[in-house]
Point group: C2
Chain length 283, copies 2
């Protein structure tokens, strides 16, 4: 049982992890730290957190684990605020969608990276944001990627791995670079494509959505994520996202050319491969 | 009550419409016409259709309504096969995803367009194809677009409208040109984007899918449609699809540039607008 957990940023992921930790009897006391006292108060009233603080001192002091769950653009500020109150053995971890930038932020704040900082990223989400969408089962059967630092000791890493496994997740390890390249492709790129599709639709004929079938609705669901969170992801995984967009544009241009050339064989092959690959994932 | 309905192509849409017509007591006798006797036999065994034929004569003769539900690339062939057996008052309609090309195919076969041909398109679908995915509720609360011909009489159009309304759909009217432009944007474009994303992923790292969260899975679902159907849609709405891909690429390039320029304000604005627009659709 962890005595005290502090969750910084009680949004969708922060609140869902708080609930999951409670549901799995992992934490005695969970406090939320953030800027908006009124919202934190509501989260407390909903029993998502046991207490809340808007000053870092009370929030962090005597915490065994601190979990940063704010948009990745805020990490440098957040780490600076909490630094004075961390014990030597307080584990600090996070749920951010980018990992290189998170480690860079920690380097800026701490100089030498503390061996107690364990960067992590649960691959889970929802179209809705905020603790109102809190879901204690959000991490069940989801992957969590830990990108350990060279000086992390095995025991600290194990504690974070155990925490995630107990809420139902499967933990994998990779370098921050691999993480950012991979997630740039499997998560950030599709979101950029969906945002762009909405942008294009709005520029053309926003009311056309009434004639949209499932396909379009799925896209719009993807494109309804939190704007600040996605802005920060773009700023913090810039090169990978741009590279993936460029690569994608080549695929899209090749498809467009095949249509223009009436290359039916190529079209059928692209469409079949997509289906075959997807079916292999499901199987 | 319609005495005899012939459904040409007992796939997802054809079989679902057969079931919906039965569920709503609209048809006394529904036969399926197609090439694959073994599959048609199974559809009959599942009581989706009352009888099946692989020769057009028996299928079409004495039909009150003939519904074409094959990939749009097959229409010229299909219309040529059934033409000799149509009565003067047999209504012919379809469910094809493109409308200009469908009308052109009919013109080629019939010379002057028959006043009994009523082109239509239900905006409904599923990721699965074939009568195995048959769903009698597929059209409930879905739009059906009818693109009437100049010489269609009101009574014939009303009969097709009534048929769709009874299975739960809402019927709208537009020109074939408006239909193809609109659906090119709301349906064909998103599918092309999803197919291209799968194509890009396969070219990069097909096993990455295990690290894909909801966003990517939605995309892959969209990209799992029937390859021949989508090939035919591309060939039959070529110009509109290419134009929409070009327009989309501009939106995507603008987003990529905003990331490259670290234009946080613009990014936040694109992401917020997407969310606001989507929320307005839901509300």
């Amino acid at each position: 049982m962890i005595e005290k957990v502090c969750i910084i940023g009680v949004g969708l992921i922060g609140s869902s992890l708080a609930k999951a930790l409670k549901n799995t009897d992992q934490a005695k006391f969970i406090c939320g730290y953030g800027r908006d006292a009124a919202r934190l108060k509501k989260a407390k009233e909903l029993s998502i957190i046991d207490e809340y603080f808007t000053e870092p001192k009370e929030a962090i002091i005597n915490s065994d684990i601190v979990i940063i769950a704010t948009p990745v653009g805020s990490y440098e500020k957040v780490l600076g605020e909490i630094k004075p109150y961390l014990k030597n053995d307080t584990l600090v971890t996070d749920v951010g969608s980018t990992k290189r930038s998170v480690i860079e932020a920690a380097e800026k704040v701490f100089g030498n990276l503390p061996n107690t900082f364990i960067p992590a990223h649960p691959i889970a989400g929802k179209e809705k944001s905020g603790f109102e969408a809190c879901d204690g089962e959000l991490f069940v059967n989801k992957k969590v990627i830990i990108t350990p630092l060279e000086n992390n000791d095995d025991e600290s890493i194990s504690r974070i791995q155990n925490m995630w496994e107990k809420v139902g997740s499967e933990v994998d390890y990779m370098t921050p670079e691999s993480h950012d390249e991979l997630l740039g492709m499997t998560s950030h790129l599709p979101h950029m494509l969906a945002f762009s599709l909405m942008d294009y639709l709005i520029s053309q004929n926003p009311s056309a959505s009434i004639y949209a079938a499932g396909g379009f609705k799925d896209f719009s669901r993807i494109a309804s994520g939190n704007a600040v969170m996605w802005r920060d992801i773009c700023m913090n995984n810039k090169d990978e996202i741009i590279a993936h967009i460029k690569g994608y544009q080549k695929s899209l241009s090749a498809l467009s050319e095949a249509i223009d050339n009436e290359d039916m064989e190529k079209l059928e092959s692209i469409f079949s491969s997509a289906k075959t690959t997807r079916d292999s994932w499901l199987g």
